[in-house]
């Protein structure tokens, strides 16, 4: 079954179809939540809550084809709620080392871990647009709509994020060479 058919089946109460949808989306949702909240239990809980909400409210989704974007929206709203619950704290400029998390195992080749470390040097706004663009495959207009800001701002943040990542990776490789 393609995703639209899975969503239709899940809407009719088919738990196996919903579980398949969960498996298809969970890794990218976790990566997105970790980008926004840091790789801790808050992120893990946000994803779990997103799936519970999606199952409960699937009947209100008008278009099955909109499921991925709808799921992302639920997650982002949940993450933003968590952030506000943290009493307006801005995530620390130096978030915890992503490989040392109780809630997650971080996997991948060393180059990926370097990129992950570079991603975590960005501020939350830049990490968020990177996650929405490359983990959830949203278009610029969809991200703008979700975050309530102009498309130009989103494009600008994406370009700045890519430039900063490039610099961070260059600095990392210079450090390795000099060692």
């Amino acid at each position: 079954m393609d995703e639209t058919e899975l969503v239709d089946a899940a809407r009719r109460g088919d738990t196996r179809a919903f579980t398949t949808l969960v498996r298809q989306h969970e890794r990218s949702l976790h990566a997105t939540a970790c980008s926004i909240l840091g790789a801790g239990w808050d992120a893990s809980d946000a994803v779990q809550d997103t799936f519970v909400t999606a199952w409960t409210k699937l009947g209100t989704l008008k278009e099955p084809a909109a499921f991925p974007a709808w799921l992302t929206r639920i997650l982002v709203n949940r993450c933003h709620t968590v952030l506000r619950k943290r009493h307006g704290e801005i995530l620390a400029a130096d978030p915890p080392e992503p490989t040392l998390s109780e809630a997650y195992d971080v996997v991948g080749p060393e180059a990926s871990l370097d990129l992950l470390a570079a991603l975590n040097t960005l501020d939350r706004e830049h990490r968020e647009v990177v996650a929405l663009r490359y983990f959830r495959d949203l278009k610029v207009d969809e991200i703008a709509d979700l975050l309530g800001c102009p498309s130009g701002t989103v494009k600008s943040r994406i370009n700045r994020a890519l430039a900063k990542l490039g610099s961070a990776l260059c600095d990392e490789s210079r450090t390795e060479v000099s060692l």
């Binding site: 809407r11 738990t15 409210k57 989704l61 709808w70 997650y104 490359y134």
Partner: protein, 262 residues
């Protein structure tokens, strides 16, 4: 196109988001400009590597359906245990309000959810609560709103009315883009968040329809009320919900926190 313009467009070019004419211009420039071609390679490789990161985080707790069927409490409770149950009940009931003629004209027709049937079959406790709930229509700040009587024990009517009115005024101010009023209706904590993230509070407009509001419940010194609503712009694919935490400061009720949910 000059080099600056091409470099600004490279990310969109990699994503194939440009129109045909611009795509062709960028492609032609890359054939002639080795510096921009090198930058294109860098961006393309970086984007590919970033996409690979979506598999990087393996959660130690994996979601399964039993989390829903057993009504398991979330590990990080926000102290909303009663409120969470109320919110879930509102979601289950959100389609039952169509039977109320007084508001039928303001609601678009929603498809009947078979979810309610499967939820009822799976959870006898939930079914009892659903059958015990009453729905009435109440006028709040000039709007007719179906009220789901979920709170148990019930608060005094004047408290209930004051908190529900505050939530309604807050939502009206959101849709009017009225940051000044939102600030006046909020505690210092909400005002601080409003100043940092105004876009989280302003709604884009369009006619707003109130699908449901709960009676007010209490958790500690905090009043809780949930409002389900929909409009032409904000969530075009479904209803959505705003969750309010309200505190009494002196003699005045103020919004301390507002969260948005599906």
């Amino acid at each position: 196109m000059n080099c600056n313009e091409v470099r600004e467009a490279l990310e969109s070019y990699v994503a194939s988001d440009l129109d045909d004419a611009t795509t062709e211009e960028v492609a032609e420039h890359l054939l002639d400009c080795s510096a921009c071609a090198a930058e294109y390679d860098r961006v393309r490789n970086l984007v590919g590597d970033l996409k690979g990161l979506r598999e990087a985080y393996v959660p130690r707790e994996v979601f399964d359906m039993s989390a829903i069927r057993t009504d398991a409490q979330p590990r990080t409770s926000w102290g909303w245990k009663l409120a969470t149950a109320s919110a879930l009940l509102i979601a289950v009931l959100s389609l039952s309000v169509l039977t109320i003629p007084a508001v039928a004209e303001t609601l678009r027709v929603l498809p009947v959810s078979e979810k309610l049937v499967s939820l009822k079959a799976d959870n006898a406790e939930l079914e009892k609560k659903v059958e015990a709930l009453e729905i009435k229509v109440k006028e709040i700040e000039g709007q007719k709103v179906p009220i789901v009587e979920t709170a148990d024990p019930k608060l005094p009517a004047e408290v209930n009315d004051a908190v529900q009115s505050l939530a309604m005024r807050f939502i009206n101010a959101q849709y009017a883009g009225d940051l000044k009023t939102l600030k006046e209706l909020g505690t210092a904590k909400l005002q601080a968040d409003l100043a940092k993230h105004p876009n989280d509070y302003i709604r884009k407009g369009g006619k707003v329809n109130f699908a449901q509001m709960t009676d007010v419940s209490m958790s500690g010194d905090t009043y809780l009320v949930f409002v389900r609503l929909m409009d032409a712009n904000e969530w075009t694919d479904s209803q959505y919900q705003e969750d309010f935490e309200i505190k009494k400061v002196g003699d005045i009720y103020l919004v301390d926190f507002m969260g948005m949910d599906a």
